[in-house]
Symmetry: C2
Subunit: 408 residues, 2 copies
């Protein structure tokens, strides 16, 4: 390994994602936080937590609260520093990124990092609220998020699809795969929905052509939390810490109309490449990835922006991989014999997408899979290296994290 | 000095505070940011900026935007990491705190940190919006912020005022002093208002008894930015960097009704004491302080919570100091010959309070005063050490920073 780890994850907790009408938002955060603290194998005292990081997007409009640090203080019974971050749907990723910096600074030994969103309460108003993650001109032009991603998907299919119906089919296969992956994930929003066939996706209602309802991630409520500590002391708390080898963030224009290219995400390219360069790894070294599939086209973009597949060729490889592996436990993407399994718990699509929680949920899922603690949903091959990829808006921001179990 | 500096401020820029109906929020942030970058004495290239920190409170509801990192990216033409933080009225202080951690981590050499708020546009709705910084139960009970602080002020006067009319007069003197301080501050919201007498404050309209309109900070628009770098390289950019010697944050319950004491602010006590302990300084070593006087009672709390005056005795000392020094250039607080001058540019009260900008504005003012660059408003004695104190809500969070010019 080129570099030393920046932090170690030693505990993780989460709520089920879905509709939690009855829950108080602050109590949900507290629940996930306490689960994370209590999950630390060799135990940790509350007073060993030096600071708390938090990521959420719409809490002011959805829950009519601000000043999250003060609520965390009361929930934890601690007066420690708390840092609340927002980067739209990458709020969780940003909180994780910022908490790694906190550990690296030497200011804190051990921190709690949580992500949260409670969206159901807003009912149909949430569709407009989410447009805070887009440029106001896009909102005023009548765009919503399916519309923005439909513009990107249309352009991608036009430039690279060659009129081949398999391109559109590949975009449906992603949804079908991620629903398949979530069935054994007891915390997933759609685990009880069962299999969703490629045909079902392709015949589902059009939301913003060519995006159909089953290409979209859902509106969700949920909270996730992790306990992070300095790598040097991690074994004091558990025999199997998961190391964060690199933590990266990059930004780009919020608006699609000022970007030179909309068939991929510049911020993803920059963040993922920085993480790979930082560790000296290539995408071929990554075993599993939790990818930001808010719409299935984003998973395509990741596979190309990361360099795993060549630009414009992901859809063909997705199609071939799906055809080869459908019906398996987990359906990997393959490239010359190398397997990369993406969104093992169902991704945003099927596990759910309480936006501020997503970036932390990705690390939670990777932590569980790398520790072989994913229960019935444990991947059936030995995996050691994971990537987490979180996007805000249509790509105004992206974060990338590389996680490893064995680091010799 | 017990410790080494955590960061150095090498540039600073700000807009005038006040009503900026015509300005685009994103352009205001860009303007302050570019002013800060261009103010660096020996010059700095935009590409030398490694990351950007940002603090704002109500941008989602007031300006219908989120995902600030993406806007900053476009404004600066950079794809660098950007970290957006929120802690109500301490959002600026939190951004400064978090940016110091960024420098300390070694991940960044040089960062831009900005604070911003644009509130005028919301007109009278802003009074309800601001209640996101309070507990929802307080809002539902009919409280607004003047009401919450009136509760604290009433209790303080009951416990410590001894029925002496000078206690209430001291609370008016603070407002009069801060208006007096702002007159020569060309960026202040109320510089053209001129002197505001103690009588004017005491005869102004009651907002929430005993708080009168002239005890309150105003609704403001404004942006402020700083350039921070590693202390070791600061002299490459300027011969007179201002060093941040300690950066601290503490939290407490958001709600007044769950605190055991409301005649002071626990978070202030913890943050200020940490900053003093960290540097080995006492309040007697602090020459000037920028204090969170959202309502004048907060300035009283600071003087007691920091330990400069004994609990319950600040008002007597404020009264005596004011009577001794009224009519001077700046009116200090005195204690056994020691002078502490507070809110040299007018504080939140008279310079203005665009909430997310305030914590950064405090560091801006301190930077200018310590560098002797405050122009007509320059303090007329030599000062070397400043404290900045920013509070969120009624004390759910507080930050404290100690700044120094000469650090031998």
């Amino acid at each position: 390994m080129k570099t030393k780890p920046v932090a170690a994850i030693i505990g993780a907790g989460r709520t089920r994602f879905g509709e939690h009408w009855e829950e108080d938002p602050k109590a949900m955060i507290g629940k996930a936080g306490m689960m994370a603290v209590e999950s630390v194998d060799k135990g940790i005292r509350r007073k060993d937590i030096d600071a708390c990081y938090f990521g959420s997007f719409l809490y002011q409009v959805t829950n009519k609260i601000g000043l999250i640090p003060g609520y965390m203080s009361r929930e934890l019974g601690l007066n420690i520093p708390m840092i609340n971050t927002e980067a739209a749907c990458a709020s969780g990723g940003l909180a994780l990124y910022d908490s790694c910096i906190g550990i690296q600074s030497g200011k804190y030994d051990t921190v709690l990092v949580a992500g949260f969103e409670k969206m159901s309460d807003r009912q149909d108003k949430i569709i407009d609220d989410l447009m805070f993650a887009a440029d106001p001109h896009e909102f005023e032009s009548g765009y919503n998020f399916p519309g923005l991603y439909a513009t990107m998907m249309t352009r991608y299919m036009y430039e690279y699809g060659n009129g081949d119906p398999k391109c559109e089919e590949a975009l449906a296969q992603i949804a079908s795969k991620n629903h398949h992956h979530c069935i054994k994930n007891k915390y997933a929003q759609f685990s009880s929905k069962g299999e969703v066939s490629v045909e079902a996706v392709m015949n589902s209602r059009v939301v913003a052509n060519p995006i159909r309802i089953l290409h979209c991630s859902p509106i969700s409520d949920g909270a996730v939390a992790l306990v992070l500590t300095r790598p040097e002391v991690a074994k004091k708390y558990t025999d199997t810490p998961i190391y964060i080898m690199s933590s990266q963030e990059a930004t780009d224009h919020v608006s699609l109309y000022t970007r030179s290219n909309i068939t991929g995400v510049m911020a993803t390219r920059l963040a993922v490449r920085s993480a790979l360069d930082d560790t000296g790894l290539t995408m071929d070294d990554i075993d599993i990835a939790e990818v930001h599939d808010c719409f299935t086209i984003e998973e395509v973009f990741f596979l190309e922006d990361s360099g795993f597949y060549k630009k414009g060729e992901a859809w063909k490889n997705i199609y071939e991989s799906y055809e080869s592996f459908k019906g398996s436990g987990h359906i990997p993407y393959v490239k010359k014999g190398k397997e990369l399994t993406v969104n093992l718990g169902g991704g945003l699509k099927a596990d759910g997408h309480p936006v501020g929680a997503t970036g932390i949920r990705q690390a939670y899922e990777s932590f569980k899979q790398l520790r072989k603690e994913a229960g019935e949903n444990q991947i059936d091959r030995d995996v050691n290296t994971a990537m987490c990829h979180n996007v805000g808006g249509t790509g105004g921001v992206a974060t990338a994290h590389i996680l490893m179990r064995d680091i010799q």
